[in-house]
Symmetry: C2
Subunit: 347 residues, 2 copies
Amino acid sequence: MFENKENRTDLSTLGEFGFIEHIAKSVSLKNASSLKGIGDDAAIIDNGNKMTVVSTDMLVEGVHFDLAFHPLKHLGYKAVTVNLSDIYAMNATPHQITVSIAMSNRFSLEAIEELYVGIFMACERHEVDLVGGDTTSSTSGLIISITAIGTADKEDVVYRNTAGVNDLVCVSGDLGGAYIGLQLLEREKKIFVENPKIQPDLEGNDYILERQLKPEARKDVIAKLKEQKIKPTAMIDISDGLSSDLLHICKQSDVGSAIYEEKLPIDVETFNAATEFNLDPLICALNGGEDYELLFTIKQEDYEKIKSIKEVSVIGHITEKNAGVSLVDKSGSIHPIKAQGWDALLE
Amino acid sequence: MFENKENRTDLSTLGEFGFIEHIAKSVSLKNASSLKGIGDDAAIIDNGNKMTVVSTDMLVEGVHFDLAFHPLKHLGYKAVTVNLSDIYAMNATPHQITVSIAMSNRFSLEAIEELYVGIFMACERHEVDLVGGDTTSSTSGLIISITAIGTADKEDVVYRNTAGVNDLVCVSGDLGGAYIGLQLLEREKKIFVENPKIQPDLEGNDYILERQLKPEARKDVIAKLKEQKIKPTAMIDISDGLSSDLLHICKQSDVGSAIYEEKLPIDVETFNAATEFNLDPLICALNGGEDYELLFTIKQEDYEKIKSIKEVSVIGHITEKNAGVSLVDKSGSIHPIKAQGWDALLE
């Protein structure tokens, strides 16, 4: 199955995507019902008319969250949201989740209740049922593994690998906020650790803090696309950053893309905070990650219809593969886009 | 949702089942498709004719396994098996799994490949597809979270809470082996740690070691029950121990039970090893856990049919609730059965 090697290969040399590709190469789907396996936001299981859509994510303390500034209630909410986001990114509707939790004995019942309050809030908002899970001890820290299950009609499912040349590239909401929110929280934590008497200065940054601590999955955008009878030609949710996720669509669809700096949606609060941190807001928008917005492509003929959805920006178009994937800056210069998003295994 | 408390309640005061009950009380299922939520081996999602059956389990290094004696290949195999066992325990057929893994950077690519070789072996054996997952870093140790997805016709699903008075209590395979296997591995590890020159003495114990390191999910028993046209009236897989899992069936079905010491299936290797450890083989069979055998009840009229399945032992019967849950020993004395199985949160 795998080549026999005498060597020891560091996982970090492959990175998360390299590792997933490496494993995926050994998988061949044998059940007729396994319509789509590894390689998209979610797996698709064929039940006849209705497809079951399944996505899973694991959040690890010290890697994905820091309990010094991540309230448990928000964490529960976020853990559910990031999974539902994957279901929406298939143009499907989530209905159930399972929640598995490993926790060390430093957590009290009341603390874990807080976590579940957040989980239930997200369930309520998205009309999703908690139907199962597992609870266990951990030797250190908190680990949350959630699986989301949804449904879609077969003809509604949108994959990553079906973007076509000349399609328009669209993104919901705005970008870079979650990343800047994290920078702010980490700065204030550092100040607090150095001098516990100094209170964190988070004022006026509600929006970017919420982007980091309590992101939303874009149920509303999926609903509006349906209302307008727009079926995206390809779709992904932005968890790793616009650059990285656009590259996923292009690589898997075997196409190129040009997106335009002046079209990228950046909130004024994100812009100001980035400037304060001496960070380029454009770089934050491209590479920040964790925005959980939808990145999708549509047919050119849907342009008028998409303009009526105020939550969506058209940021570029799909090109032939040999044109590459690039950003056109405000002066008209062309910059190739590289994946610089968050790579879990390199943390 | 939860009562507001000033106190700090230790999770260990509730135990795993207490905690699950506590959370389950706050859940009310809202989607019509959520047929069965928390409280059985797996959740049941209604898709019309076919039910989707979903189960999830998390394995944590230092809690569920010790890499000092658990080869990664076996561990991958076991992680899949324990999930599939839950699907079989609903009288359903597993078709897909997702695998999420958090690992520290002490693991090489080659090590994780070994883990996946075991995962793929179990998939192959049970004709199951790996369709998705998540890979991430951990700050320490290895955590494996697997979700198994299967299907069943609506009329075939067997729950825990439907055992009836006078039904026969049956168990597949034999009991206590996995627990004794673990005792043996822990003893040899201790000797090795104290004196690395002494080689582990595992000879003649292949069966109990395999019960611990590489358990099987009873696909074969489910198939034979179908062949014989026996539909169990209630079923659970034995992960926590016969006592604990029989109590689950009885509590949820609102019945009592009497099982007979002389009927309990104990392999001769388990018996001998238990004696060597000065442990009572009966106690190992009752409370050992991790055997992943099926515990189920059938109608009395199926007695002749069940006798033809050599992998199954009839160990007792279901009684009225007020008779309690008890073991009848070889002398005819009656002992109330208490849950003394493995409780994840008390570890």
